[in-house]
Amino acid sequence: MSENSSARDAVLGRIREALADVPADEPKTSQWTYGRPTAMPDVLDRFVERVADYEATVVRLHDGSDDAIGRALVEGLATIGVHDVVVPPGLPQPWRQAIADAGVEVVDDDPPLSRERLNAIGGVVTAARVGAAESGTIMLDHAADQGRRALTLVPDVHVCVVRADQVVSDVPEAVERLQDSVAQRRPITWVSGPSATSDIELKRVEGVHGPRTLYVIVAGRP
């Protein structure tokens, strides 16, 4: 510990010596205004377009009721061909029920599943926290309706419900909406399309370690 504190003092000492020419009270020069929306004709349209651009499947659902979402989830899972899904403990009950009623095996992450078990499950169904239209990003803060981080990572298919009122224009508005989550020290994951790599010849290939299929349901009207 004492070695660590001497390293700390040494590094901070070097920094202070190196910055002897800098006045401590100089004003900041950044002119940036935080949290501003980005102008666009229709935020939801842009979100749908941009998420789809990443080779994700996006379904626009004007009816934002739990029944309608349940039906869309069942349809989505059937289209992809997933027979078992893990769900977070806080997934809305009607969604969970609709999936189970359709004959898909629903596994609750309660108590938490081992990583090996998780690795053997076909997919995961979650809600989201924020959507950013311009960049086509879904932001999770891993609250009870989204589950711990491994849930949306290890299974190969992620079906995600984003409510229309969660979608904002761009990253600045989205970061502002995440302030509460970070204040609660929640982990946060931004997802922009399925897992991908461009490491071989800079050619984008969908799917390495994260879910190779991303299916997004945008539900309701703003």
Binding site: L12, A18, R149, A150, S198, I200, E201, H209
Partner: protein, 546 residues
């Protein structure tokens, strides 16, 4: 081939135990593939290394292909944003503020991290950072059958050569980013900040996977072809078993947020998320300049970084974490704040601008020099324009490669235009050239060795004596005709290669032929020749003006 097993009790169906491998490892038995022999800092000077790299036609094709593609893509996604220049200005101003008040922000970061439950360590240099990490890792793996860690791609851990320190301590460090995996399995060094295996094409990757994967874990499928999607899939399978049993993960951080104690890792494949989520212990090695003041500042950098680096609107995955979370991911978190030469950079009021760098690699991708020679010629984990200004500041100018790096540029300035935090790279290169020359003047040993390199300053000195006085200049010019015109005549319109020591200059440059007469002589006698082009030109301009 493969021999001793270090882990005794693996069932035939279970995961393969770690083995000591000698194949392609310079005759040594190792847990992980050996990188090329020798230290980076002992690399030959840039011109010599560049000549070596230019002799690799496949690499040149691979690089030209990739760099052209990413430049176009970047230009497209940047053009989408109306406020790109405002974002750049904000990025520059925010990082500049961090750099200029680094002590304050680091103390704040330390407090926030500690409050969030992360243990903070400080390291003066690479050796100290490695010692801290190795001790933490060994302590946590004491009862584990697999002496290994999984790694998120990180420039800081490459810089301190952590993998080799772990190997020496009997711990295997597995790179999990696809390109890092290609470089590691290929006994290679990364050649690019963002896509470290950019110098390899798909056929070479297939070859590396087929030969090496089986030595270090799950082998590549027997029928593996060179389709990128199948190569990516082979890496998924190979690494999945390592993720499933990982106890300790090591990461860097793209940003460390001072006000919230949040760390941020930006990636594409999900290998980062695997490491950050599945391990019990997470150790993040973070350069002291990685701080941003507030969580809100991420709205600037998470727009600038993906568009500048992978040329995407957003990278597939960004992970943000603020200490351990109950029931989710590692419960044991450590951050190692590393100086390792950064305070040297900070001490130069001009050079410190380079510490704004967010490691996007846009400057590499537009650099005509990088595109031709690739990253290995720079003898550093940081290649390209940013490497040429950062490396000699981090490591000092004692080695011949570090002295040569500021000259590894044509000063075309393309890098200045793309840098998302507006680092004046071309100006810094000139600044570093000056520092190298000054350091050589001050070092008699270097002066004695570098005779040729000293011809230029000596010539410049005599030229400045000549130019500073009009009479000296006239006298030097002699009468009406120039020496060049007299002696060399008018065979061609430029000088070709000249003999040593002038070859130092002409090997890389075409010098225009000296005209027959001096300007002064021409100017004084221009009235004697009414047909002179200059006068006619002047006259016609006057006519136009009326």
């Amino acid at each position: 081939m493969t021999d001793t097993q270090t882990t005794p009790d693996a069932s035939p169906t279970g995961p393969r135990p770690l083995k000591l491998v000698t194949q392609n490892n310079h005759g040594r038995a190792r847990l992980t593939p050996a990188p090329p022999e020798g230290e980076l800092i002992d690399s030959p000077p840039f011109p010599e290394a560049a000549r070596r790299e230019l002799g690799l036609p496949v690499q040149r094709t691979n690089l030209r292909h990739a760099m052209t593609a990413i430049r176009t893509k970047r230009a497209d996604v940047v053009a989408e944003l109306d406020n790109w220049e405002d974002l750049r200005a904000a990025g520059a101003a925010i990082k500049d503020d961090v750099v200029r008040h680094l002590d304050r922000y680091l103390v704040q970061l330390e407090e926030s991290l500690t409050r969030a439950g992360t243990v903070v360590h400080w390291a003066r240099d690479a050796a100290e950072a490695n010692r801290i990490v190795v001790d933490l890792v060994k302590e946590r793996l004491v009862d584990e059958p697999y002496q290994e860690v999984v790694k998120v791609k990180s420039m800081a851990t490459q810089e301190i050569e952590l993998n080799e320190a772990l190997e020496d301590a009997g711990v295997a460090a597995w790179e999990t980013d696809l390109a890092e995996l290609i470089a590691q399995l290929g006994h290679d060094r990364p050649s690019h900040i963002l896509v470290p295996a950019i110098h390899r094409n798909r056929g070479e990757v297939r070859e590396i996977f087929t030969t090496e994967m089986g030595n270090y874990g799950k082998p590549a499928p027997a029928d593996l072809d060179s389709q990128p999607v199948n190569l990516a899939n082979a890496s998924r399978e190979h690494l999945r078993e390592k993720f499933m049993r990982a106890h300790v993960a090591i990461s860097g951080a793209n940003f460390a947020v001072a006000d919230s104690g949040t760390l941020c890792v930006v990636e594409s494949e999900g290998n980062g998320r695997m490491c950050l989520t599945l391990a019990d212990t997470l150790i993040s090695v973070v350069g002291i300049e990685k701080v941003v003041p507030t969580f809100a500042d991420l709205e600037v950098f998470l727009q600038l970084l993906p568009r500048s680096s992978t040329a995407e609107r957003m990278n597939p995955y960004t992970s943000l974490w603020t200490g351990p979370t109950d029931g989710d991911g590692p419960q044991d978190m450590h951050v190692v704040l590393v100086d390792n030469g950064r305070t040297n950079v900070l001490a130069d009021p001009v050079g410190r601008d380079a510490l704004r760098c967010i490691r996007c690699s846009a400057c590499l991708n537009v650099c005509p020099v990088y595109e031709k020679v690739g990253g290995h010629a720079y003898g550093s984990v940081y290649p390209g324009p940013i490497g040429a200004v950062l490396t000699p500041q981090l490591r000092g100018t004692a080695s011949s490669v570090d002295r040569s790096l500021p000259f590894a540029s044509s000063l075309c300035g393309a890098c200045n235009e793309v840098c998302p935090v507006k680092i004046p790279l071309a100006e810094l290169l000139v600044h570093m050239r000056h520092k190298v020359v000054e350091s050589k003047k001050a070092d008699p040993l270097v002066s004695a060795k570098g005779l040729g390199l000293h011809a230029e300053p000596a010539l410049m000195k005599s030229a400045s004596w000549l130019f500073s006085d009009g009479r000296r200049w006239s006298a030097a010019l002699g009468a009406e005709a120039t020496v060049g015109g007299k002696v060399l005549g008018r065979v061609t319109d430029h000088f070709g290669p000249l003999p040593w020591p002038l070859s130092k200059w002409t090997n890389a440059r075409d010098v225009p032929m000296v005209p027959d007469e001096t300007f002064r002589h021409w100017f004084e006698h221009r009235g004697d020749r009414p047909d002179a082009k200059g006068r006619e030109h002047l006259a016609s301009e006057e006519g136009d003006a009326r």
